[in-house]
Amino acid sequence: MNLHIKNGRVIDPASQLDAQLDIFIRDGKIVAMSSHLDGFTADQTIDATGLIVCPGLVDLNARLREPGQEHTATIESETLAAVAGGITSLCVPPDTDPVIDTPAVVELIEDRAKKSGRAMVYTIGALTQKLQGELLTEMAALKMAGCIGVSNGLSPIKNSLILRRAMEYAATLDLTLFINAADPWLQSNGCVHEGAISTRLGLTGISETTETIAVARDLLLIELTGVRAHFHNISCGKTILLIKDAQNKGLAVTADVSAHHLHLSEHDIGNYDTLSHVMPPLRSIRDREQLQQGLRDGIISAICSHHQPLDNDAKLGPFAETTPGISGLETLLTLTMKLVDDEEITLHQAIASLTSHPADILGIDAGQLKIGAQADICIFNPNIYNECQPNKFVSAGKNSPFSGWLFNNKVSHTVFNGKLVFEQDKIRSIIV
């Protein structure tokens, strides 16, 4: 199948390319990027005039709810949502049910993803069995089955000795450790940032030390063990200083921030708006500014969705009783581009933080446009006024606090493995 993407502004941060070019795709691969190609007859042409053409986005953390919570969402529904958001590669954390602690679960997920055929789903394997923080998983087997990293999900390992050993074992296998850092005792049953808002609303707060203490401990163990590590979903300005320090020391440490933490703060909780209930919580305005600065400075190199689709029931109730999480696949690009529109980051930084940087972190061959590579491409319109309507999301989860937000950009086409898998206003298949 020959695909021709015509006249778009092609931006590829990995090769520092930014030019008006056509892209020619044959048999799933990019065969040329130039103004024309002799002897190429396109089966399908996409007119990308006025549009930006970049690598398909790479999302470091998205929950697809399968296996385990298929009543909420499935790999089928969420990969469709992913490509609707221009995302062609995404990473699933190990806290599925069953946990990704055996090759069988890895294969199940990869199988289902292959069947949907729309996006590449990578798995992060469990660091410990059942994520219980005691016994190591067979990480070599998981790696062989296809896991590109390991993590203990949302259950931080309390026992520092076990964490040290797990890090050493992962380092032996050259596996990246993905960390959601939080001190479980300080976190307790808190649900919002500890501060003036938690005091006013009478909700149990989560102090910033919950994150900084955990990060500090983990960094010291990372230094000791030499494991390559990535911190997910940084929420505090102070954490950035710790990571910066570690990076300056030459440690292989990277970090990402969620698209929502770059835009929202504790004030967005307003009058107990459960759509703003996330973990880690939305913090102060100052933290948000510092997160944006951390991104500009490159200490945080990737933006991700931390997608958590939830059904309506999960968000209907008194704040503390609701489930935290935002359905974020379809707003990842729009929120990142909004930072560009607001002149907080440059266009190239924005695209890099969604493509080449996350791909580097994962160590995968994605997030770039080059001749001979698999054709995973995101085409979007950077100049189209539209309103965020979560109830029209493709994802099974409509839980987003961005309802009514006005954006200036929208994904128009997504290509995966040389096939057009998403076209705006023409959803490619129906979700049952």
């Binding site: 501060g195 005091t199 006013r200 107990y272 209907l316």
Partner: protein
């Protein structure tokens, strides 16, 4: 914040929190409570003001005292009252709240009085009832207990009249107290001269000063020249979770004894939202002493709740779904 408590014309529709309400409205509440309090002394303790209205007490947390005063208040206004005690120990708490609401709407009630152990519960219910239905917060988690705060203000006004001259001290577990939060908001809105909180650090919320109070850890310093002393109930569960070592030490440092009370003004009044833990937050001699107005608070509770119920149900005309 609480913009949805008022109707378009500024009348009280829900009473969820003191926050967002202005002084004239709070004053009106107290004035009406004055008017209603005389009814309790009459031969006929009832007026037909809310006859035909159905009021449902939705209590997800046990409370005989508060529930009883709401029942009495409703009955003195000739309303029909139903009290539901809903057990929240089931695993699916959120579900039961919503399901309960759906079931109750079929009963065509005019008002829900809600008490729940989660902050924000009353707000949640107010967002999910039919437009003409009023919701009164009888206490939600650690967030607010506005009817208690208003009866406390009413009591203070009866004894002290002029709020700007007053120094008020609130002693105890402010961190977990919805009563304290509402009291502080009410005192601030009514223009009280100075609001003090007296507690150990473990029992104070983060950024406490943003509530507009002066913080004291030393009780003797905090009580000096105070006009109103409000003691809060200390829940004995606070000994777990490393908030306090023991009730005895708490009484030693923060219990209101006659000697410590003497540091306040000689005509200072002593209040407590109840129920009292004698010998923990307050000595019996003080609770039963001449400066204590604790029993009065209980009586005032009925008149104040009658005022609030009639104010909110009186605004139903602004909602077109009122059944003729």
């Amino acid at each position: 914040m609480s913009h949805n408590q008022l109707t378009e014309s500024g009348r009280l529709h829900h009473f969820l929190s003191i926050e967002g309400l202005k002084r004239p409205l709070l004053t009106e509440m107290m004035d009406r409570a004055e008017q209603f309090s005389s009814i309790s002394h009459q031969q006929v303790k009832k007026v037909p003001l809310l006859r035909g209205k159905t009021i449902v007490n939705l209590f997800f947390e046990n409370s005989t005292r508060t529930r009883t005063t709401f029942e009495l208040a409703a009955k003195r206004l000739s309303a029909d009252v139903i009290s539901l005690n809903i057990n929240t120990s089931s695993a699916s708490k959120g579900e039961s709240l919503r399901d309960t609401l759906h079931n109750l709407e079929a009963m065509h009630s005019d008002m829900f009085v809600v008490r729940h152990n989660q902050s924000g519960a009353a707000e949640f219910i107010a967002q999910h009832v039919a437009p003409h239905v009023s919701v009164i917060n009888a206490g939600d988690g650690c967030h607010a207990h506005p009817t208690q705060a208003m009866l406390d203000m009413f009591t203070i006004r009866r004894h002290k009249q002029h709020f700007p001259d007053l120094r008020v001290a609130i002693i105890g577990d402010i961190l977990h107290s919805r009563v304290a939060r509402s009291q502080i908001q009410a005192l601030a809105t009514l223009g009280v001269g100075e609001i003090r909180v007296i507690a150990p650090k473990t029992l104070l919320p983060t950024d406490c000063k943003t509530l507009g109070v002066h913080v004291y850890h030393d009780m003797e310093a905090g009580l000096k020249d105070v006009d109103v002393v409000i003691t809060l109930r200390l829940q004995l569960e606070r000994m777990q979770g490393a908030l306090l070592p023991s009730a005895r030490e708490y009484f030693q440092c923060y219990g209101l004894t006659e000697r410590k009370l003497s540091l306040a003004k000689p005509d200072a009044i002593v209040m407590h939202p109840g129920p009292i833990n004698r010998g923990v937050e307050i000595a019996s001699a003080v609770a039963d002493g001449p400066q204590s107005v604790i029993l009065e608070q209980v009586t005032h509770g009925i008149a104040v709740r009658m005022a609030i119920m009639s104010m909110t149900l009186g605004s139903q005309a602004e909602f077109h779904e009122v059944t003729p």
